[in-house]
């Protein structure tokens, strides 16, 4: 019996991680989807937004539905719906179908998440342990999602992101069915009107989720679009966040600082990490590691602590679990809504200083005027071909044939131009990262007002 319980706990934790990982799993796949569907950036962003928006909207109603019946059946139904929608995502013939299927995924996912909370508490036999595993699975999923999505997109295609999820999630079906009839409602859960949601903890969760969206979404965009690195490289580069998030518990929980202390420290770490990303001294991936570690430690320290605080001593548990999910994903949507216009506008504004820096370097390069004209022509064509994206200067240089001494000067110029373009792109993301840091700092307000509780 114990072994099967362990299996159930592991399977349900994995399923919660997969569903919540879906929140950001497509981040690194967006450029490939953009090309596949020939759509605009704003349209493709809905693949990300639809899931988070619908999850935020249906989490609480799903929890209410879950409370009316057996959570095992709600979870099983959610798994089936999530898997079916994921199949449609994998074979989606158009962007509209993909966005609709992502919304359906979120509906099934909401049932899986709130149902799993009840089942994990039952399977672990202890409220605190069940909530801890549920919250930790959510943190791991949210942190690992973009990394796995990036690796799968690079190795196969964006469709593989969804193909891989189907068998993983379906494993939860027998686990949920095995828990049928096992969750016994306490009398007070059935008779008493539900507790009010813990607004402070949920607001802090929403603000930190908005900030964390920036950490992962903006950083991935900066690495792939700004620095022109491959999605695979970006995926490996952003592993620092989940690694630190998973290490935060073992590292800091020994201090036993309490919910307020952990939420405060987590918010400071996330805000500090985002400020670090706004003040990168170079475009080397190594410079992003320390800020990412701060963000990851903050994520690991604050999100599950706040989630536990939002659920502590409140009934019905599933409903309050639903509120935390709604708060987190509303935060993700709000983060995207606030930050996307900021960085897209900044990217547009970065175009002129970048072009002027490039023009300055080409004009002053120790190359014959004819070579400069040829290069300028090639760079101009490349700029038009990239349609407002950070251009790849290499084709313009490859097209110009120069004798050896001039080729060395051209190579230096090429390197300098790439440096200037990276500088412009990095600078363009600065305001968005700083606004995200401000969102994390705002979370300090509800965090300091939290009621104390040992975690």
């Amino acid at each position: 019996v114990r072994q099967s319980r362990t299996g159930v706990i592991a399977t349900l934790s994995l399923t919660v991680a997969v569903v919540l990982g879906d929140s950001g799993i497509v981040t690194l796949a967006l450029p490939e989807m953009l090309r596949d569907f020939g759509a605009e950036v704003g349209q493709v962003a809905w693949v990300l937004i639809a899931f988070n928006l619908v999850l935020a909207l249906v989490a609480v109603p799903a929890a209410r539905a879950c409370l009316r019946g057996d959570p095992a059946m709600a979870t099983a139904g959610g798994v089936a719906a999530f898997a079916a929608a994921t199949i449609v995502c994998a074979v989606a013939p158009s962007l509209a179908v993909l966005v609709a299927a992502r919304a359906a995924q979120a509906v099934g996912g909401a049932l899986v998440i709130v149902g799993s909370l009840e089942l994990l508490v039952e399977a672990t036999g202890a409220e605190r342990e069940g909530v801890r595993r549920w919250a930790a699975a959510g943190v791991a999923g949210a942190a690992l999602g973009p990394v796995l999505g990036g690796l799968l997109t690079s190795a196969f295609s964006w469709r593989s992101i969804f193909v891989v999820q189907i068998p993983v999630v379906l494993v939860a079906l027998p686990a949920a069915m095995a828990m049928r009839g096992r969750v016994v409602r306490r009398a007070e859960e059935l008779d008493v009107s539900p507790d009010r949601p813990y607004v402070l903890a949920n607001v802090a969760l929403a603000l930190l989720s908005a900030a964390l969206t920036a950490a992962l979404f903006l950083l991935v965009l900066l690495i792939v679009e700004g620095w022109r690195r491959s999605p695979a490289v970006a995926a490996v580069a952003v592993t620092a966040v989940p690694v630190a998030a998973l290490a935060a518990g073992p590292l800091f929980r020994r201090v036993r600082g309490g919910t307020r202390s952990e939420a405060f420290a987590g918010s400071v770490l996330i805000a500090g990490g985002l400020t670090g990303l706004a003040l990168l001294p170079g475009a080397a991936l190594a410079w992003t590691v320390a800020p990412q570690l701060l963000v990851g430690l903050g994520l690991g320290l604050s999100v599950d602590s706040l989630t536990a605080a939002a659920l502590r001593d409140r009934i019905p548990r599933a409903l309050h679990g639903g509120w935390t999910i709604a708060a987190r994903h509303a935060g993700v949507v709000a983060g995207l809504a606030i930050l996307t216009p900021i960085f897209t506008a900044d990217l547009r504004h970065a175009e002129r200083p970048a072009k002027e820096a490039v023009a300055s370097l080409v004009l002053d390069a120790p190359l014959p005027a004819s070579a400069k004209l040829e290069l300028a022509d090639g760079l101009g064509r490349q700029l038009v071909a990239e349609r407002g994206r950070v251009p790849d200067v290499r084709p313009a240089f490859a097209a110009v044939r120069l004798p050896a001494p001039q080729a060395a000067a051209a190579a230096t110029l090429e390197h300098d131009l790439e440096d200037q373009l990276r500088r412009a792109a990095t600078r363009a993301f600065r305001t968005a990262f700083l606004v995200a840091a401000a969102l994390a700092l705002l979370a300090l307000v509800p965090a300091v007002a939290l009621r104390e509780g040992r975690s």
Binding site: F252, V255, R256, G257, G258, R260, S261, E262, F264, A265, G266, V268, L269, A271, G272, G273, T275, G276, L279, L280, P281, G282, A283, W287, A290, P291, L294, L297, G298, L301, A350, R352, P353, A354, K355, E356, A357, A359, S360, L361, L363, D364, P368, A369, S370, L373, E374, D377, G380, Q420, R423, A424, T426, R427, E452
Partner: protein
């Protein structure tokens, strides 16, 4: 103590990371700013060949024109590619800038003598061999006294139809032939002026 330990660790970690980043130039990782075109740029040594001299005159001329128009040299260059964003008086500003450039190089004795440029000009020209031989036989001192570089270049700049040149920006060969024609016309007129009593 336990309640302040974690926030304290967090603040210290953040201070450490941000301190290292700012010390490494974190706040200054931005694209290079355009130089003020009204501040005279340092001129590197000029080889006595046609292309580097012409290029230097153009670069200094762009500075002068940009200064007159109140924009950066780089912005002016980018505007040249998109004529719609070019100021209506850009042609006049460019011509004035080119004249200023010749004046500055002349003032700083950076212009090579015409006799130093003649062999290269003859080699690249499509003149008949006999003409090349005759011109090559003219003593340098005669060439330099008949055709001093600065007046020749000033006259050539005056001959240039800048608006027409701007229309031909996409075709470097056409620009080169227009400049060559302007210089030849300027040389002929300069010689004729000097031969007149």
């Amino acid at each position: 103590v336990r309640t302040v330990t974690l926030p304290l660790i967090a603040v210290l970690l953040v201070a450490l990371v941000l301190g290292v980043q700012v010390a490494a130039g974190g706040g200054d990782y931005v694209p290079r700013a355009s130089a003020d075109p009204c501040v005279a740029r340092r001129i590197p040594p000029l080889p006595a060949r046609l292309e580097p001299v012409a290029e230097r005159i153009v670069l200094l001329g762009l500075d002068g024109a940009a200064c007159r128009l109140g924009i950066s040299r780089e912005r002016l260059v980018l505007s040249l590619a998109d004529r719609r964003s070019l100021a209506p008086d850009a042609g006049a500003a460019l011509k004035a800038g080119l004249r200023d450039a010749v004046d500055r190089l002349d003032r700083e004795h950076r212009l090579p003598k015409v006799s130093q440029l003649v062999p290269e000009a003859l080699e690249e020209s499509d003149l008949p061999g006999i003409v090349k031989t005759v011109v090559g036989a003219i003593p340098d001192s005669t060439i330099d006294s008949t055709l001093p570089t600065a007046p020749l270049l000033r006259r050539a700049v005056g001959e240039l139809d800048v608006d027409e040149l701007l229309d031909q920006l996409a075709d470097p060969d056409q620009i080169e032939s227009a400049i060559r024609a302007a210089i030849l016309r300027a040389a002929r007129d300069e010689i004729l002026d000097r031969l007149r009593p």
